[in-house]
């Protein structure tokens, strides 16, 4: 249930993940249309493909994802997932094992140790939730970009074994736009969430636009991807995607 099959078929992604290993997918969301609703899809798609997952979150605790996926019928204890707490460097060893992070991202001078740990992991689907939080923390654009490129280089080095990078970030103002433009230039796919231009609706949460990133043209099968626009409705246990005007609730 955690895999959004309509979205996968619209993007022609049969496994739910991008078809070519080593690629980068950017999820851009706004205030009323957060892209984090896609994270369960990528996590469960990786689990179904027997791929390990590394989830780096700057915005939420591990408990948050555990609860959401449990409601979707996925028990994270049964899957290979490593959670990196990047929200705040705290000593979390007192937490129960089910919700205890596997790594805590500390201050910037401790990042080399993190990248060493990341390189030691088996080729995985790396998901970064809230990359723009590095800007909120007062770090510069260069720092945020260097974090992204280091993660991307680790993923690309394990690309043949099926590693992929998924980045979710808030893009809604001038402060985060430079970072978003830079990441788009280093991405293969861009999934952009936005509110309905026609206004609020109780049956449609927003619109998803899938377009090619700047690096997609370098892939051999780049022509198989077609830009897509879908509407979606978020519920407690899933996200329903449908073509504009084809909502099951309305029809």
């Amino acid at each position: 249930m955690a895999t959004y099959k309509t979205l996968s078929s619209s993007l022609n992604w049969s496994t739910g993940l991008s078809p070519t290993p080593g690629t980068t997918t950017l999820i851009a969301g706004g205030l009323g249309s957060e892209g984090s609703v896609l994270i369960p899809h990528f996590l469960n798609s990786a689990f179904e493909n027997k791929q390990p997952v590394i989830l780096i979150s700057f915005t939420q605790t591990y408990n948050h994802y555990v609860h959401i996926l449990r409601k979707m019928g996925v028990n994270l204890l049964n899957h290979q997932i490593q959670f990196v707490n990047a929200l705040r460097p705290l000593d979390l060893t007192s937490l129960p094992p089910a919700t205890r992070p596997h790594f805590t991202l500390g201050a910037q001078d401790q990042w080399p140790r993190f990248f060493e740990w990341l390189a030691e992991q088996p080729p995985s689907v790396v998901v970064i939730d809230g990359l723009c939080s590095l800007l909120d923390q007062g770090r510069g654009l260069d720092t945020a970009l260097s974090f992204f490129t280091r993660c991307q280089s680790v993923v690309e080095s394990g690309g043949l074994a099926g590693a992929r990078l998924v980045v979710n970030m808030f893009v809604d103002d001038e402060g985060t736009e430079p970072l978003a433009y830079a990441v788009v230039r280093r991405s293969h796919y861009v999934l952009s969430f936005e509110a309905l231009s026609s206004g609020a609706s109780s049956d449609v949460s927003g619109q998803l636009t899938a377009v090619a990133g700047h690096l997609l043209c370098q892939l051999p099968d780049s022509k198989s991807f077609k830009p897509t626009a879908l509407h979606y409705k978020v519920s407690d246990t899933t996200v329903q995607f449908f073509s504009p005007g084809q909502s099951r609730i309305v029809l």
Binding site: L31, H67, D91, G138, A200, S201, V234, D236
Partner: protein, 427 residues
């Protein structure tokens, strides 16, 4: 009433007083003090979450919401921390009281909710018993009813005796002795600013000082990462930040508020604390358009609401003063006082906000924009906005002068009776 009782293991920890659990996200909730606002938020403010109230322009309705939040902390026995930068805090004159406050307010960390029930029972007016269990947004009955829900966690004396949301009266005040007994910590922003200018003017970041203060408070018994000593009960820390981002919050970095909010979120997520922030969004405008940083501030908070008062939104200060002198505000006291806009709802442990299933006022989607508030003498309420009756209520009544000019029928003239003769049915 059913005799069924849920079997609960004795070793299960008791929830903190005056809290309930959201059955859809397993998230602990506390009340904001305004039942209608709790309803809009999906049952209350999640513990570990931040509610941002974008202040109304030139009026003080957001301060009323903050005073409700503080009064609820005292009524529930929670610890209260107020960080103030631009306004003196005088709890005895600013916080609304409730019936039986002088004898029912629990001391901090202890639950004397039984006294509250006794005090409230004496004042309670008995009406038709069959209506007592009907759902209501405002009122104490709905709150006490929810305490007995099986999904509200294990039955405990602390959670069931203390009401989830007290019924406050704006015309009353909390006695000083009750405030003295409560656990209240007031952080004076002016003192912090003076200390910054006196000793370490190099950074000048008031946000950092306040975050360190909050961190120390959380470490003092409100962290979820530290086990409690034996026989100790969990309590809730309520943090109230007034006018965050105004000029009184001094900082050399214009983006320091973003780092502050991100750090605050990281602290609260691993704590038994909830935070309400009032934010003067109208100060972040250029030519009537909000600056982009406001969107990032909203993004960093879990719930965002905005109060837009009718008096202050499109008025000059002189027109407001003139209106108050004429007394128009008093004559329009039955009307709404402004709109309540919902920009974001809490989504902790969930993909979507739970208000769609739990809220009476707000059902999601387009209904986010049809809420209004009104401030009465005793109560602040949030209601669904509707236009008044066409032509107004007063024009539908017969004016007093016309009523006196109409020829009065002789006494006893009625249907079927003859004028001038006494009606045999009259008594």
């Amino acid at each position: 009433m059913s005799s069924f009782k849920k079997r609960v293991p004795a070793s299960q920890p008791k929830p903190p007083p005056a809290t309930r659990i959201n059955p859809h996200s397993a998230q602990l909730l506390v009340s904001t003090g305004v039942p209608a606002l709790d309803d809009v938020l999906g049952g209350g403010l999640p513990v570990g979450g931040v509610l941002l109230i974008e202040q109304d322009r030139q009026t003080g309705y957001s301060n009323t919401l903050l005073s409700y939040f503080a009064s609820q902390a005292i009524a529930a026995g929670h610890k209260l921390c107020i960080v103030n930068a631009d306004r003196d805090v005088n709890l005895a004159s600013q916080l609304p009281g409730w019936a039986g406050v002088s004898r029912s307010a629990p001391e901090s960390g202890t639950s004397t909710g039984a006294e509250t029930e006794q005090g409230g029972a004496g004042d309670k007016m008995q009406i038709a018993w069959r209506y007592q269990n009907l759902p209501r947004v405002d009122g104490r009955e709905a709150d006490t009813q929810s305490h007995s829900e099986p999904s509200a966690g294990p039955p405990s004396t602390a959670a069931t005796d203390t009401p989830y949301c007290e019924n406050f009266d704006l015309s009353m005040r909390i006695p000083q002795k009750v405030i003295d007994r409560a656990s209240v910590d007031i952080v004076d922003g002016d003192a912090i600013a003076r200390g910054m200018s006196g000793t370490e003017n190099k950074s000048g970041d008031m946000y950092r000082h306040v975050l360190e203060k909050i961190s120390a408070l959380i470490d003092d018994g409100f962290s979820s990462l530290k086990p409690l000593p034996p026989n100790a009960e969990r309590n809730i820390l309520r943090i109230e930040l007034r006018s965050l981002g105004s000029g009184f919050w001094r900082s050399s970095d214009p983006n320091a508020i973003l780092a502050f909010l991100h750090g605050l979120r990281g602290l609260l997520r691993y704590s038994y604390a909830a935070c309400v922030i009032s934010f003067p969004a109208y100060l972040y405008e250029e030519a009537g358009v909000r600056l982009p940083i406001v969107r990032r501030i909203e993004h960093l908070c879990d719930a965002v609401i905005e109060l837009e008062s009718f008096e202050g939104s499109n008025a000059t200060p002189s027109s407001i003063v003139a209106r108050q002198i004429k007394g128009e505000a008093a004559s329009n006291s039955q009307e709404y006082h402004g709109f309540l806009h919902i920009h974001k709802l809490p989504r902790l442990n969930s993909l979507t906000a739970s208000m769609g299933r739990l809220s009476i006022l707000h059902t999601g989607g387009g209904s986010a924009n049809n809420l209004a508030f009104r401030l009465r003498r005793k109560k602040f309420s949030i209601e669904t906005y509707h236009l008044p009756i066409e032509g107004g209520v007063t024009e539908r009544r017969v004016p007093a002068k016309e009523e006196s000019n109409t020829p009065r029928l002789p006494s006893g003239a009625g249907c079927g009776s003859t004028p001038g003769r006494k009606d045999p049915l009259e008594f």
